[in-house]
Point group: C2
Chain length 511, copies 2
């Protein structure tokens, strides 16, 4: 990697970027400039086509963050809304593409992207076009109770959007509102399916089951569980939080179900240098998973697993491990739920991260949210539809407006080949980070995510300081687990952004 990093842009440049930004919002209903219309010179004189030709050429750091305007806004907000987890006050009108802006004129390269949930750039024109369409307006103001009164275009919205990118082998969806919600809906489907297996497909509920369910007691409220993994994160509602094992602060003081947790492989990096040790570690985890499936007092109806444990520290496992889980779930007749809330929608260089595994049989359920902007779970087995209506049901059951937005996101991903872009950018980034790790071995440890698109992380002995310094050199970057720095750029992250990021990291490491 050579230097193409421009020291933070002048305020004149920034003002120009902002006026472009404003113009872009205003003209969103006109055809926007073709992506091929502009190129940017990246490092080494190589050129690439910019997805956002009018994006900032680089970050601007105008003030300490938070600056005076941000501080005033935070103080105002804190009167009515808890701001203690606030990272940065944002100005989304001025944010564009890969760059997040704040009220003080700071513009940062955003490789955190709203906790991995912005897919194709701030104020993406394709998305603005969808967001201002009469179709969107109708679905915003006429939000239906989807299970009772779906709109006559709902099937089409699903098949041209959410279901057009359904994981292989899964052709149905139940929609929800958030990642936590998607996972809990999946758990409910799993419990109803498991009891059907136990009871028999066409067996009616007994009076005792109906009475005891009303008292939250056996047998109507069964002693079943969902098995998850140590350091997993699956959400923060009561069922999903019972499967989340990320950090005490997420769980303290909240009652939880007594459900089992299996160990997740703690691999050694670089993977290729520790192949046999890592294989043994994965086998140990599989063995313990099987023991828990067989012996836990509340038998699991399903296991849930993230392709890469994200909030818990970006922990990876091999395709063989996941194939082993698929085998165990088949052997013991329980479901395999893959939580793709953070890994899904392109970030790993495949549309769904579990495509990296080449499973013999698809997962039973795949949950999604974040970059999809919509949420829910995919499934394929008809038996996962409960045996009666109103068992899997709630008033809104998702949000057609967000499903329309996801359709536009999918179109944008396909138009610009963003999954392929992310795979290529990931390789570029990883190779250069390997170089930085060699140069600064005290700063980058356990670099991981090779071949997984831009879903890259490493351990840092001074992680919180690194994240904080990021803002001073123009990048917004996040952490996970106890000591990991995680990269979660958008799918429109390109080589010139990678170069800016790498140079900013080196500045931090030098300081």
């Amino acid at each position: 990697m050579t230097s193409a990093f421009r020291v933070l842009g002048s305020s004149a440049r920034n003002a120009s970027m902002r006026s472009l930004r404003t113009a872009s919002i205003a003209r969103h209903t006109r055809p926007y400039a073709s992506a091929a219309a502009a190129t940017k010179t990246s490092n080494g004189g190589m050129t690439e086509t910019a997805f956002f030709p009018d994006e900032a050429a680089g970050p601007t750091v105008a003030t300490a963050i938070p600056g005076p305007k941000s501080q005033a806004a935070i103080e105002q907000l804190n009167k009515v809304f808890d701001t203690r987890s606030l990272n940065m006050m944002a100005d989304y009108r001025k944010s564009y593409g890969n760059y997040i802006a704040d009220p003080d004129g700071n513009v940062l390269l955003d490789v955190y992207a709203q906790i991995a949930s912005i897919p194709v750039g701030y104020n993406n024109p394709t998305l603005l076009l969808a967001a201002t369409s009469p179709e969107m307006a109708s679905h915003i103001v006429n939000r239906p109770a989807l299970g009772n009164f779906p709109s006559n275009d709902w099937a089409e919205i699903l098949t041209t959007g959410i279901l057009s990118v359904a994981p292989k082998g899964l052709n149905q969806v139940f929609t929800g509102t958030t990642g936590s919600d998607a996972n809990e809906l999946a758990y409910k489907a799993a419990f109803m399916w498991k009891r059907r297996q136990q009871r028999g497909a066409d067996v009616e509920f007994t009076q005792e089951e109906m009475n005891s369910a009303m008292n939250n007691a056996l047998p109507g409220s069964p002693e079943l569980s969902i098995l998850s993994f140590k350091t997993a994160f699956h959400g923060r509602l009561f069922g999903s939080l019972s499967t989340t094992r990320s950090k005490p602060i997420h769980k303290l003081d909240i009652p939880a179900f007594d459900w089992p947790q299996a160990p997740f492989p703690m691999l050694k990096y670089p993977l290729e240098e520790h192949a046999s040790e890592n294989a043994a570690e994965e086998q140990r985890c599989l063995d313990e998973t099987e023991r828990l499936i067989k012996e836990w007092h509340a038998p699991p109806a399903a296991i849930i697993v993230e392709p890469i444990q994200s909030e818990g520290g970006d922990n990876h496992a091999s395709p063989a491990f996941f194939q082993g889980l698929r085998d165990l779930t088949k052997k013991h007749d329980i479901l395999m739920i893959v939580d793709e809330v953070q890994t899904g929608v392109g970030a790993t260089g495949k549309f769904w991260a579990h495509e990296h595994w080449n499973l013999d049989a698809p997962p039973d359920i795949v949950t999604f949210s974040k970059k999809a902007q919509a949420a829910g779970y995919y499934y394929g087995n008809e038996e996962l539809r409960p045996n009666k209506p109103y068992r899997q049901f709630n008033t809104w059951m998702g949000d057609p407006a967000r499903a329309i937005l996801f359709r536009a996101i999918v179109q944008e991903i396909e138009r610009l080949n963003l999954v392929e872009n992310t795979a290529a950018m990931g390789d570029y980034l990883f190779t250069n980070l390997e170089g930085l790790a060699q140069k600064y071995p005290g700063e980058i440890k356990n670099l991981r995510g090779k071949g997984q698109g831009t879903f890259i992380a490493w351990d840092s002995p001074r992680r919180d300081e690194v994240l904080k310094k990021g803002k001073t050199v123009g990048i917004n970057i996040g952490g996970c687990g106890d000591s990991a720095v995680r990269l979660r750029p958008m799918l429109i992250f390109q080589q010139h952004h990678a170069d800016i990021l790498l140079e900013a990291l080196e500045k931090i490491f030098k300081s």
Copy 2:
């Protein structure tokens, strides 16, 4: 009540209504006609100002429901989405004001309103204006992680919207996505608050608490509970479902927390004829509530109660009962959570139903969703902010786009005085329903909701048949509990709509 009911409109009339509808969507950015511009003759020659001057004059029943086009659409949808709870396939482009349309040209007066969640009419022009604003577009495509990166207009969106209608005594909000989510967030706040009371405000977590929380075990995962009431409905996620006691079909096969349920008063109607019996019944329920608070093995951190138990059958209690609950919660130092998900936002003739109670001290927490289109919980006590950041947190923490829509809803409610309208329409409707109950005593039993706006219900010995026949006479109407017909019209429901509804009901009773 005299007859102003016009037998179902001609198809010409319907076509005209539809073209008006289309025009209204197209012209939504122009100032819409003033509400005062048109009047409709209602029964008795009385005139009233129509809120939707270009609304249908009455229902149109063109085919059996579902008609052929709806059937084809249902078949299509069923391939990818469970349709067994489908009530009616809707066409929202053609729905307007109080009327819901379907693909076959049927147009029904909608007094169910997406399970009580449409506040100010389908395709309301004020809402369409908000939905197509640049502000809305920005918030749709740039959905933030609100706890980390709020937008600099978030405080203003809250104070001019959600918080402008905050219940008296409550001045803060934590936003969520749905009613279930709002309640679970409130439960989490209650548990953290309760442990703080037990532990001491500034006491750090012990290592044992942190370790055990990761294992879903005591003491980090405490044995505390939320007390709810029999026949209550508070949602269908794992924590909220544990407090829901509506019907077995909502709960069967889903693991639940062993939390206590107190009896809810089963009052006799008309209330004024059974005053002393009802008072005794309420005292019995209060006594049992107190016993459970004192004796339940997992002590309640809070009670949660609906002002009117909605899904569970529209069960009412007196202000004295709720004042009794407020006294008990104060006495035993636990929180009072009022679930206004279905009762809130004007339907009872007050903005919040608990305003009918004149409590000595406001509830600790009030949850909202449905008609608000946004969701969350209000609170006022600073101690309900957990002692550390990231304890009450998730990626999206609500949706600013929906908060903007709620602000527009509030403006529309204020512009048209819709809370007052609903109070007046409720009185009109209730008086006329009393007349119908006298005429058809076998059809309307336990009429309830007097003085509670249009939040009216009665028991019907042939409830499901009544709901089904509703569609054949042009009304979309819902049920709740085992045998209740519930009215949940929108806030723009006027006297001429009431007359159509009353006449349609009489048709059903006669058949």
